[in-house]
Structures are given as C-alpha cells and as structure tokens.
Amino acid sequence: MAGDVEIREVAMTLHAQLPALQIVVPFMTAPLIVFFGKRETAWWLAFLSCSVSLVISYLLLMQVIGGGFISYQMGGWAPPLGIEYRIDAANGLILFLISLVATITMPFAYRSIQAEITRSHTLFYACLMLCFTGLMGMVITGDAFNVFVFLEVSSLSTYVLVAMGAERDKRALTAAFDYLILGTIGATFFVIGIGFLYMATGTLNMADLADRIQGQESSRTVRAGFAFIVVGLGLKAAMVPLHLWLPRAYTYAPSAVTVFLAATATKASIYVMLRFMFSVYQPEFVFHTNVLQILFIPLALLAMFGGSFVAVFQTDMKRMLAYSSIGQIGYMLLGIAMLNQSGVSATMVHMFNHGITKAVLFMGVGAFVLRAGSSFYDNIGGLGRKMPVTGAVIVIGGLSLIGIPGTAGFVSKWLLVQAAFENDMWPIALLIVLSSLLAVIYVWRVFEVIYLQAPNEWSEASDPPMTMLVPMIILAVACVYFGIFTDLSLGAAGTAAEALLNGSFGMAEPSLDTSALPLDVPHGAGDAGADATGGDH
C-alpha cells in the first residue's frame, strides 16, 4: 500500500516539475556533451534531450490549451521575489514549436554538419543545446530579467553557431560579427527598458510588473521603457528596418543551424514582444500610445513588400529564403498591429506555421548544399529531378509559404485577412493578398530552377541519406496536416490571443497549483536563473 502511494507521489512530483525540467534537461545536456566529448555520444545526448523536451512541452501545452496557466516557482521562492515560470497557451505553443523543430532538426543536422564542418562537433552540439535552452527559457519564464538572461544565453551561442559556417564561406565570420554587434545592442536596449521598469515599479516579475504599472501609464519612465523594449526585441525579431543582420547570418550559417534559427529564434523574440506589450503593459496602453498604428503597420507592410521584392531577385536560394523570412515577420507584426482577436491569433499561428514551413525549406536547401555544394540557383538547376523527394518536399514547403489552401500557410494568412476586415482596413487586406503574389513569384522561381532547368551533366546528385530525408518528410507532412487539421495550432492560438488581449497577467490564482512542491534538481538552470537575478533583487 505504501508503495502505491509513493509511486503516485513520484509521478505527481515529476508531473509538477515539468516546467523546470523543460529548461533543466537541455541546459544540463550542454555540459554533459562537452564532458563526454565524443561525436556520437554528443549527438545522441542532444537528440535525446530535445525529444524529452518535446514530450514535456506537449504535456504542458495540453494542460493549458483550453485556458488558464501553470505557475511554477523556481526553488520554492514565491514570486515576486523568486523566479517564476509561467506557462499559458501562448508560450505553450511556442515552446512546442521550438522543441518540435529542435527535435526534428537533430537527425537532419547529423549528416549535414558532418558534411559542412570538420572539427569541434561536440562543441557544436553543446552550443546548439545552449541556444535551444536560451530560446526555451526566454519563452517559459515569467520574470522580466530572466528573459534577458536567457536571451543572452541564446544569442551568444547563436553567434558561435553562425560563425561555424566559416569553413564553407569566410563571410560567415563577418556575418556573425555584425550579428554580435547588433544583437548586443538589441539586448542592451532590452535590458535598459527593463531597468526603466524596475525604476518605476521596483519589481521584475512580469505579473507583478503588470499590477504595479497600473496607474503609472503616463509616466515618462514607463513609456521610455516601452520604447527600449520594443526596439530591442524588434531587432532580435528582425523587424524592418532592424533586419539587416538576418540575411547574412542565415545565409552563411551551417544549414542545420539556419533551419533551427529560422524556425525558432525570431519567433521567440516576437513572442516576448507580445508578452511585454499585452501582459506587462496592457492592450489599452499599447492602443493609446499609437506605436502599433503609426509605426508597426507601415513597417510591417514595408517588410512584406520589401522583403519579398528582394527575395524575388535573389540568386541564392538560402538568401532568398532569408529575405522571405523578413517578409513573413512582417505578417506577424501586422497581426499584432491589428490589435484584435483574429490578428493576434494570426500572429500566434503564423509563428507556428511559418516555423515549420521555413524549416522544411531550409532543410531542402541543406540537402542541395550537401549534394551540390552550394545553394546558388546556377548550381542547383534541375536538382529537383535528380532528387525527387527533396524536390517534392520543397514544393510542399513552397506552397505553404505562398499560402495555398490546404497548407499551413493558408490558415494564418486567412486569419490575418479576416483581422484586417474586422478593423475595416480593406486596403491592408488587399495588400496582404498582393504581397502573397510576390511569394508566388519567388517560390515559382525556385520550382522553375529545380525542375525546368537542365541539370548539370556531371551531377550525380541523389536524395540525401535517410537521416535528412525523414525529418524533411515529417515537416512537409506537418505543413499539410496543420493546414487541414487546425485544432492544435488554431486552438492554442485562439486561447492565447484571448488571454493576451484580456491584458492582465496579474497575480491571479494559477489553474494548476504546483508551488507546493519545491524543486529538487541538480545545480543548473535554477541556479543560473537565481544567480542572474539575485544581484538585482
């Protein structure tokens, strides 16, 4: 009998500790990888830890998909003093996306990295795990300063990962350097913004911040903080005109890194931006300060058209996709700027759908790079015929990027158009459709290159090995699946949008009380978080 009870307790404990494990597992994997120092082991550890994260994030998402949130107190210290992890549908969905992409990228990375990097594979996987942890941490945490810490964790490792592309092309180094400068400025702006908030409220817990900002909306400090936070995160999210680091970073990074970053990094930043706008500051505040209406809409449109136009004329598929990402980020910002339920849902769901779509496409490019050694149109001509599965996967991804009905891309654009209609912004709805036509052009160009051009005669390319093929196929199927069965993505996005637009993140009762069980884990994320924030408290 006693045994039974104990087992249940263990089960409960584990279940209750999921939010912490979500971060601790990948975070601890990084030093473990370095400790073992073997390529094979490194890969297995990374893959295993990503898979565990995926399961955890799925379990978490299922708990909050209907509404409510989980509040987890790191180390048993109650917020606002301690660090709080807080999961609701919004970050649940993003956590799921990040861990999904990471898990699927791992098998792909195995061969792709072998082909593109000769040395330091273990360190590469360690960096990738740190980057992954950083992104997950940014999204899961409910503490403003903790966001900064994780943002830096992910950024620093990203710079290294991008620079690792130097073996194929030395320009990766300048790309990484530029990104380092700009990313640091962005992160600094963000932390300055948080400084302003701390000055005004004396707290760093987001929920507490939300409560204490009430009534100080007209304070210069609070407003300046908003400006710094938006610009800082806008840079990390590659919002036009702060996007200039992105094309180079994505182009010259190793293919697997590009897959992972393109699908997740900007999304995490956009999520944090959403969180700060709507949960820390309130929707009314955002509405009254006019930033969205005056700035975001034009900038988003500029991104949609500018990014797409540049993509149309590119001669390198990888770079083309990078510019297309800038355009797609425009859609996400536009959704936020619509400030209504459909718009924010569109942003949430577009983050998810675009994440998997871009991952598929960059994987396809990665396969071309593996076989043809380059991603320039001149070198990949006719490869679709020689590599039928890769070609088919790129076609599906391309259709989803355009937003053809029946693919994931359509769902989010449809919502976005609806959002514009709801605000009676007809011209904007029209512009959304028009800019999609540009996507038709640049995607069509790829189809034309890979199918209709004559392949190089000496080329004996064939589909990449199974470890790369299977992830691509899984994601391609996901592109179609999430275009037809929208329960998970739209459901979570809808719940998230509702919660975000309702504003107050306040110190309300959590839906699942897990605070009773203090954390008992090895030194790791908990300590890192506590150390980082401890000094400021």
């Binding site: 530029d178 400006a227 610009v231 005109p241 004329f313 510019y323």
Partner: protein
C-alpha cells in the same frame, strides 16, 4: 462527417495508384475503370448535401447532389471514359495521371456545395490540365503552358478574392445563385468568365488547346470551359448581361474560324461559339433555357470530343492538322471520315443528331422570352457553324484537293472511342427523351415539330449551298470576300464584316494597350531590380555602422510617438 465520399477521391486514388502499376494495358484499364465506377457512384448518390465538415469555422460541403450537378457529373465521367479509351495507346505516366486528376477535379468542382471547395477544385483543374499541354515537351508547348497556367491561376485567385469578399458580406460561403452587385460577386463572375472564355478573355483558349497533345486536346475540350458554364448556371442563372455576352461569343469567332488553317484551332473557335449558346441559355435563366444550357453542354462535350478525336487521329497518322496540307484522306481513312462527318452533322445541328435537340432548346427559350435580336444572332451563328466547322473540317481533311497522303486507318481503340461517341451523338438525336429526362427541370418540349425541322433544314441547306458556291468560285479561304458572300446568303450582310472590322480595331487597340502595359511593366521590373536586386541597396550588405544608425533612428521615432501620444 463524410457520409458519401465525393467522386474526386476515386480519381485521386486512381492517380496515386497509377504510377505503381506496370506500364501498358493495366494502366490503360485503370484510366477506363475509374470513370465508369465514378459514374456509377454519381448515379447512385442520393440527392442532398453530403460530406459536410467545418474547417476553420467555414461550413464546407464536399458533395451537393442535385440534378444540375448530376447531369454535368455524368457527362464529365462519360468524357473521361471516352478520352481514356481513345488514349489507350498512351504510355505517358504524366498525361495519364494528369488526365485522372483533371477529370476528378472538374467533377469535384461540379459537386462542390460551397465556394471554398469550388476554389480548391477550380485551381485543381488548372494545375492538372497544364501538364497535358506540357506533355508535348517542346519549347513552344512549354511557353504556351505557362501562359495558360498564369491565366487559369489568375482566374482562381480572383475567385478566392471574390469569395473572401462574399464571405465578409454575407457570412456564408455557400455556392448558391447570386446576383451581381457587390465587388465580391463581380469578382466571382469575372473568374467564371475567364474560364468560360468570354469575349476578350478568350485568348488562352485558342492559344492553349491546339498546343496540347493528340489525346490532351480531347480531354481539355471537355472539362474546363464546361465547368465554367456549370458554375455560371449555378451561380448566376438569369443574369441578363450573360445573354449579350453569350450572343457576342456565339458570333465573333466566326471569322477567325473561317480563315484559320489549323483545323484543330478551327475547332477551338467553334468550341468558343458553342459556349456562347450555353452562356445565352444561362443568361435567359428560365427553366427551358437552363435545361438548354445543360443539354447543350452535354451534347457539346460529346460531339466536340468526337471531332477532336477525328482530327487527333489524322494528326496522329499524318503529323499535321493543317487544312492546307491535308485532303483526300477518305481513301485510306474511311471510317474516321464517316465518324467525323457524324460529329460535323451534330455540331451543325442537323435533325436526328445531338446538336439539334439541345440547340433548339436554347433557341426556343430565346424566342419565348422575346429576345429577338439574340435569337437572330444565334441563328446566324448556327448557319456559320455549318460553314466553318460542319463542312470545312471534313471537307479539307478528308476530301478537297488530294494531298497525296495515304495514311493508315486510325488505330482500333481510337475508332472504338470515336464509334461510341458517334453512336451517342446519333442516339441522343433520335431519342432526345433520354437526355431530357436527366435535365435539371421538367422538360415539356417537343423538339421534332415540323416548324423546327423545316427551319433548321432551310438554314442548313442554304448555308451548304453558300459553301458550295464559295468553293466553286475558289475563294473560300480568303477571308474578306468569303465573309461578304456568306453574308449574302445568310441575309445579314454587314454583320460578320462589322465583326471583322471591330475585331481588327479591338485587336489593334488591344495590342497597343497591352504593348504599353508590357513596357510599363518591364520598366517597373527594371526599377525594382535596380533597387531590390542582388546589387540593389535593399539587398546589399550594409556596413555595421549604418545598421546601428537604423536602430538609433527607430528608437528616436518610437520615443517621439510614445511621448507625443
């Protein structure tokens, strides 16, 4: 839930299965069996709405079964079956798969109960069909296919735009009769019009269809345009503007058909004319007229297919379908010749042939509603059809000046397909009630009255006389003079000439305008390339300092905006 599977799933399954079957007869058999099972499926489906599901809050209906849909569904199945039989010799996987998907999409669209489903299949027909053009695998066919695809996809995009607006206006995506008025309905109308080859929107038809493969043209002629007629009949019955559009459609390609040398292209012009009849029928919108439109689509698909098959057989054996290079083929291809003549008689609406029983419905409907001018125009077009198709095609291909070509008779499976189609053409002409019973509305119409038959025979015989005289004088293919003469005989002297000159003027102004647009477009692309191309400022690698400057500027702007508001 999906209680009755839409027939499209069957075609999709067939298309997926086909590449895994051994090449040869097994694949051919599959392409034949699928339409047969599909037809049975359609025949036995109970009336009503099936396959309803909610997708993103939209009420989708995958299968709406009523009489209008069934009659189109059946004739599409029939056409798919005949085309597959005709293409028995084909060993081209791409064409076989494309044909199945194309027919399946067209049938899927016919049963679509909502605009979103319609849109999906609408684009499906566009994408599947272009492979029939590309299957010729020549540079020219590729370019033609691209033009065709652009127009077809545009039609779909306009439909999508229209349906979004319509949804916003009415809150429903149901595909029901609409009235023109809002922007949304006009967009939907325009998208249907492009597919239906309305005047000035028709160019893709003559451009693309003759460029397809021997078997591809047979398939193409059946589906896309008739699908558009169906969509109009469903969405815009009784819309008056359609009467006039249809009347113009029925007349103006006449001249082109007369002077065109490529016989398959002649057929396409004449296809355009036949579409005009159907559009008039839809525009009149009475029960009789809608029945007429449906019936004419039914018979039209059959005799068009028959003629395209006959010309295809000629092309298959001789390698050309140009009037100037053919002639005297009756000596070695007698069966093909007889079957072609049956098709020609049908399209010319000789009594006892299928064209007669359907055309009469539309003509009677026009007369009944006192659209006298339109009625006269249709009658003129009817006389024209005899000259430029009914006589011209068999004459130049099988009789006329002997070209010296002595090809073999068409292959057996082609003859079988043509024979079956010809039998249907005659059968429907002799027993019209078979078709009339299938039509959407109750038919209380006797086609074989003395008046009908006499009028029609008079018209046809005088037209034939005209043709004979023209040939005698040796001036038939010369455009201007033949037009003048033929108008003498058809007592509308000026009509075709005016159409000819209007056509010239329209063409000149169209070329001017499109040239201007093309230039503006080219300039625009150049400008965009200068700015956004790989060497442009948009895409260049900016120095780090400039990027940092951007951050500072944006921060400044954000701060100003926040502090001011």
């Amino acid at each position: 839930m999906i209680d009755v599977l839409p027939p499209f799933t069957l075609y999709l399954l067939g298309a997926l299965l086909l590449p895994f079957l051994p090449k040869g007869h097994v694949r051919g058999l599959l392409t034949i069996v699928v339409p047969v099972v599909g037809a049975w499926w359609i025949w036995s489906a109970p009336e009503g709405l099936h396959g309803q599901m909610t997708w993103m809050g939209l009420e989708m209906v995958w299968m709406r079964v009523d009489k209008l849909a069934v009659v189109f569904g059946l004739v599409f199945s029939l056409a798919a079956f005949l085309a597959a039989l005709y293409a028995w010799h084909l060993r081209d996987t791409v064409q076989q798969v494309a044909t199945l998907l194309y027919a399946g999409s067209a049938i899927g669209a016919v049963f679509a109960g909502d605009l979103v489903t319609l849109f999906l299949f609408w684009e499906g027909t566009a994408i599947a069909s272009v492979f029939l053009i590309w299957a010729r695998r020549t540079e020219g066919a590729y370019a033609t296919g691209m033009r065709y695809l652009v127009i077809q996809i545009s039609s779909g995009v306009i439909l999508l735009g229209g349906l979004v607006l319509q949804y916003h206006d009415t809150g429903s995506i149901a595909f029901e009769a609409m009235t023109l008025g809002s922007l949304g309905t006009w967009a939907i109308f325009l998208s249907f019009g492009i597919k239906c080859a309305f005047p000035l929107l028709h160019d893709w038809l003559q451009d693309a269809y003759p460029a397809a493969t021997v078997t591809g043209t047979v398939v193409l002629s059946a589906f896309t345009t008739k699908l558009a007629v169906y969509a109009l009949a469903r969405g815009f019955p009784g819309t008056e503007i359609l009467i006039y559009i249809g009347a113009v459609m029925a007349l103006f390609p006449f001249v082109y058909a007369l002077i065109e040398n490529d016989l398959r292209r002649v057929m396409v012009y004449s296809l355009n004319i036949q579409l005009g009849y159907m559009v008039v029928g839809v525009g009149i919108g009475t029960e009789l007229a809608l029945n007429g439109a449906a019936a004419h689509a039914f018979t039209g698909i059959l005799y068009k297919a028959l003629l395209f098959m006959g010309l295809g057989a000629v092309l298959f054996r001789t390698g050309t379908a140009k009037a100037s290079e053919l002639g005297g083929l009756y000596k070695t291809m007698p069966v093909t010749m007889v079957l072609c003549v049956i098709g020609a008689a049908s399209i010319s609406a000789f009594p006892l042939f299928s064209g007669f029983i359907s055309k009469s419905l539309i003509l009677s409907a026009a007369a009944h509603e006192h659209h006298n001018i339109v009625w006269a125009m249709l009658l003129a077009a009817s006389a024209g059809a005899l000259i430029h198709t009914g006589i011209k095609i068999p004459y130049f291909a099988f009789f006329g000046a002997d070209s010296g070509k002595r090809p073999k008779e068409a292959p057996a499976h082609m003859l079988l397909a043509m024979g079956l189609t010809a039998a249907l053409c005659i059968g429907l002409g002799v027993f019209p009630s078979v078709l009339y019973d299938m039509l959407p509305y109750e038919v209380d119409y006797d086609v074989y009255t003395t008046t009908h038959v006499i009028t029609q025979l008079q018209l046809l015989l005088f037209s034939a006389l005209g043709f004979a005289l023209l040939m005698k004088a040796g001036i038939f293919p010369m455009p201007q003079r033949s037009v003048t003469l033929s108008s003498d005989w058809t007592y509308r002297k000026a009509g075709p000439a005016v159409v000819w000159y209007v056509g010239l003027a329209v063409r000149a102004s169209w070329r001017g305008t499109s040239g201007l647009i093309a230039k503006l477009y080219a300039d625009f692309i150049k400008a965009m390339h200068a700015s956004a191309g790989p060497d442009g400022a948009r895409a260049a690698n900016w120095p780090t300092g400039a990027m940092v400057m951007n951050i500072a500027i944006l921060l400044g702007i954000v701060l100003v905006v926040i502090f001011v508001s």
